[in-house]
């Protein structure tokens, strides 16, 4: 573990000057950013813009979890990767790009699939969890991680022309299980590789996730706790809806939690985390 930064350098002040002068950031806020540790789970369509704007803003420690390699069919939406890096791990491809943008950040690649055996040791090293994944099993895992480890989870998702964004387990807001105690039928779950997605939709949701992370780090609170942002790109609509709060009876974050450790999430949702083999895609 590296030493914690305790003051901004002259170089920092030059680089971040245009955001330092905002009263909501200031020297204190910029130092909090430099000290912050954020883990982005998924270096795909959502993860790329999240990482790009967190690195640019000076978030000091960025972890990336992804077990996939860059494919040419990713490049219409995964803007940190490149033609030259097709075939190499997305973690490494993302870091190669990010280092060019901001070499002063400490980047850490976790080239693996998160599961109940490795989630705790990885996620406990970070302050904020960004859910930029593409499957239900990992979403339950990350929500439980937020509750078990006491960290907020900034969660984005997208499919076709639509996107959704909400923050779980922040102050009195709900966790994923408060909203969805029971997983959806496996046959109703479609991911971007199967269902398609307009690339800029993940760009919009990802940049909004980055904003939410920055707000949480500088102490402005979450904008989308107990709320969900809905984007319909083809309808041209952005709406914010009001969600329930934390459920007393929630098995994860309620008064008497039954979920006291990570479980087998693929078994729980009844489908493989990577969703490679779903067949009926009605929803």
């Amino acid at each position: 573990t590296e030493p914690i930064k305790t003051a901004l350098s002259k170089t920092d002040i030059l680089r971040y000057g245009r955001q330092l002068i905002l009263p909501e950031i200031g020297m204190a806020g910029q130092l909090r950013l430099a000290q912050a540790r954020v883990i982005v789970v998924g270096a795909g369509g959502l993860g790329c813009p999240v990482l790009q704007y967190l690195a640019a803003a000076g978030v000091g420690h960025l972890g990336i979890v992804d077990d996939d390699v860059v494919d040419v069919s990713n490049l219409h939406r995964q803007v940190l990767h490149s033609e030259a890096r097709v075939g190499i791990p997305k973690c490494d491809s993302a870091i190669a790009n990010l280092k060019g943008l901001n070499s002063s950040i400490s980047y850490r690649a976790h080239h693996l699939r998160l599961d109940s055996s490795n989630a705790r040791s990885i996620l406990e090293q970070y302050d904020v969890i960004v859910d930029a994944t593409d499957n239900v099993a990992t979403r339950y895992l990350l929500s439980d991680a937020g509750v078990l480890l006491g960290k907020p989870v900034v969660s984005g998702s997208a499919l076709r022309g639509e996107g959704q964004l909400t923050t779980y387990h922040f102050e009195n807001g709900p966790c994923y299980r408060c909203l969805f105690p029971t997983p959806p039928p496996a046959e109703t779950v479609t991911n971007c590789s199967d269902g398609g997605v307009l690339g800029v939709i993940v760009g919009i949701i990802g940049t909004l996730q980055a904003l939410e992370v920055l707000r949480i780090i500088i102490g402005q609170g979450a904008a989308w706790s107990q709320k969900m942002l809905l984007l319909d790109g083809f309808d041209g609509q952005l709406r914010t809806i009001k969600l329930r709060g934390r459920r007393d009876t929630c098995v994860a974050c309620g008064e008497n939690p039954a979920v006291t450790d990570f479980i087998d999430y693929e078994e729980f949702v009844g489908t493989r985390a990577c969703d490679l083999t779903t067949e009926v895609k009605l929803l």
């Binding site: 998924g42 959704q164 039928p185 329930r244």
Partner: protein, 104 residues
């Protein structure tokens, strides 16, 4: 029906998104004229199931309520903050069914 940015009057607007629209004829916006028998959300769900859903109603409802993974909004608010199945519909209410997305 009226856009969510305008006041909704004289219509009971029913919206589906996130994929839930694929269950209701692939259409996102439905301007519903409901029969008098439909008074509560309980009645509306049953009415949508029999009237709008052509096949696989179990992907819309399970055990007389909405199936897991679909959020129900009444006037842009999670129906858990209302009386849910017992909510009494009012002229102009906007009802939204959102299938949560999992891609990224």
């Amino acid at each position: 029906c009226a856009s969510p940015f305008a006041p909704q009057l004289h219509c009971r607007c029913c919206l589906a998104s996130g994929g839930a629209e694929l269950l209701v004829r692939g259409v996102k916006r439905h301007n519903l004229e409901l029969p008098d028998a439909v008074q509560k959300m309980r009645d509306l769900l049953a009415w949508v199931r029999t009237t709008l859903i052509a096949e696989r109603p179990e992907l819309f409802m399970q055990n007389d309520t909405i199936r897991p993974g679909i959020l129900v909004l009444i006037n842009d608010t999670d129906w858990e903050l209302t009386d849910e199945l017992d909510y009494v519909l009012r002229e102009g209410d906007s009802i939204v069914f959102i299938s949560t997305l999992h891609g990224g």
